[in-house]
């Protein structure tokens, strides 16, 4: 062999000690770095959770909705469905890769299409989750120190006393007149405020006094793993002494379910993951059209499908962890 040929092989990228092509290796390395990014986020979530271990929201009580089933307490069923959709689309992706190995264009097309549909269902479900979370459920009162006070009463269920949540809108009594929202046009031009909470703390206090059976539940988790319910006197005292604003739903500043950090991490981590799924869908669509117009058919090589497949499976892999740490643990 002449030197020139050997050089072309060895130094020109001809050697493949790991038996994987350049593109596939780079996809693996990207996945490693992205996995570290996600684990950084999840570890930060873990840090905040350990920091507030005795007051962290309980996921089963936060994510209790299922589309079209109003008022039904369905913890986790919907996320389980989302997990299944994503695993299923991972399966169709790996089937597309397998069909690519057999150079079967029509099968690759079908499976890529199904993968894209699965991804879209997942992103749509996530949008629905966000919407439900942002709108909120029962509402709560935030204290001066930023703690959350929720309402509920004991109800007899089959001879057992069970604590059932009561919504702020059901107990609040209209006590005083309206407070007008401060807009830049009718006050100081450089000061504005966002839309006012639907009820004032005064209205809630009057409501609490009027409804004799309603109690306040704090964020603190007791030894049974449940949130602490205060006595009637302590409930009134807490709200009157510390209540500051009425909170409905969750955003980056407030969160009716408990620590605002929970909402921040929820939006950030599921948002970042949803962004990955969304870009995965876009990449899948591009590859899908490349398959349809026969680019890889002419190349006699469907490795591109394999590479986007790796990315797609990685997105599924991350979701498995997000599912565990946000919804189960």
């Amino acid at each position: 062999m002449s030197t020139a040929v050997a050089e072309g092989k060895t130094w020109g990228g001809g050697n493949e000690p790991l038996k994987a092509s350049y593109g596939k290796m780079m996809m693996w390395f990207f996945i490693v770095s992205d996995a570290l990014t996600f684990s950084g986020f999840l570890a930060a979530y873990g840090f905040s959770r350990f920091k507030f271990i005795d007051a962290w929201p309980i996921a089963d009580e936060v994510f209790t909705h299922f589309p079209f089933l109003h008022g039904v307490d369905a913890p986790m069923y919907y996320v389980a469905f989302m997990t299944f959709v994503l695993i299923m689309s991972s399966v169709t992706m790996v089937l597309a890769v397998d069909a690519g190995h057999h150079l079967n264009k029509s099968k690759v097309t079908t499976y890529m299409f199904l993968t894209i549909i699965g991804g879209l269902i997942f992103v749509g479900s996530q949008a629905w989750e966000w919407n439900t979370f942002i709108k909120g459920d029962y509402g709560a009162v935030q204290t001066k120190g930023g703690n959350i006070l929720q309402f509920g009463k004991y109800v007899d269920v089959n001879g057992e006393q069970k604590f059932k949540r009561v919504a702020v809108r059901d107990i609040a009594v209209n006590a005083h007149g309206e407070r007008v929202q401060h807009e830049r046009s009718n006050g100081l031009w450089f000061v504005g405020e966002s839309s006012l909470p639907p009820y004032t703390v005064d209205e809630v206090i009057h409501g609490l006094q009027a409804h004799k059976d309603v109690l306040v539940r704090t964020q603190t988790i007791n030894e049974h793993g449940e949130k602490t319910v205060l006595s009637r006197e302590a409930s009134l005292e807490q709200i009157m002494k510390n209540g500051k604003r009425v909170v409905e739903g969750a955003n980056l500043q407030v969160n009716e379910y408990g620590s605002p950090l929970f909402a921040d991490f929820f939006f950030f981590i599921t948002g970042f993951h949803g962004f990955h799924v969304f870009s995965g869908v876009i990449i899948n669509i591009i590859i899908f059209f490349n398959v349809v117009i026969g680019t890889y058919e002419r190349r006699k090589n469907y490795e591109m499908v394999e590479k986007v497949g790796l990315y797609w499976h990685f997105v599924d892999l991350v979701w498995v962890f997000v599912f565990t740490f946000f919804y189960l643990v």
């Binding site: 684990s39 840090f47 005795d54």
Partner: protein, 126 residues
């Protein structure tokens, strides 16, 4: 391009005839694990509420099942099983080492900050 796939899972306990069959087999496995997780999460059985190494037994079960799922997604869907040792180790051990390190430090410190708050150096709602 080599297309050979290793068709055994569970160290050869289950052997599949073709790659497609293996994919469906792994799907069934992952679905069963997910269903077990959801059922445990809803029932929260009494025995799983005990504390082991600072966490509930149930949470440890969830984490182990998650790693189990992650293994099968990487090994069979991402075809890590068919890659050479060098690539496999470069990817897997790097992430495992760095992530364990990061998680250990952050959780340790989170627990410490909780203790500081708990001993009353900070008061909310006064």
């Amino acid at each position: 391009m080599a297309h050979e796939h290793k068709l055994e899972i569970f160290r050869g306990l289950i052997k599949f005839k073709s790659n497609i069959q293996k994919i469906w087999g792994v799907l069934i496995l992952l679905s069963i694990v997910t269903i077990v997780e959801v059922v445990l999460g809803i029932l929260k059985p009494e025995w799983s509420m005990g504390q082991v190494l600072g966490m509930k037994i149930l949470n440890w079960i969830f984490i182990i099942l998650t790693i189990f799922k992650a293994y099968y997604i990487t090994w069979d869907f991402m075809h890590m099983r068919d890659e050479v040792k060098g690539l496999r180790r470069a990817v897997v051990w790097t992430t495992i080492f760095l992530i364990s390190y990061l998680v250990f430090i952050l959780l340790q410190e989170g627990g410490y900050v909780f203790d500081v708050y708990d001993q009353g150096y900070i008061k909310r709602d006064f």
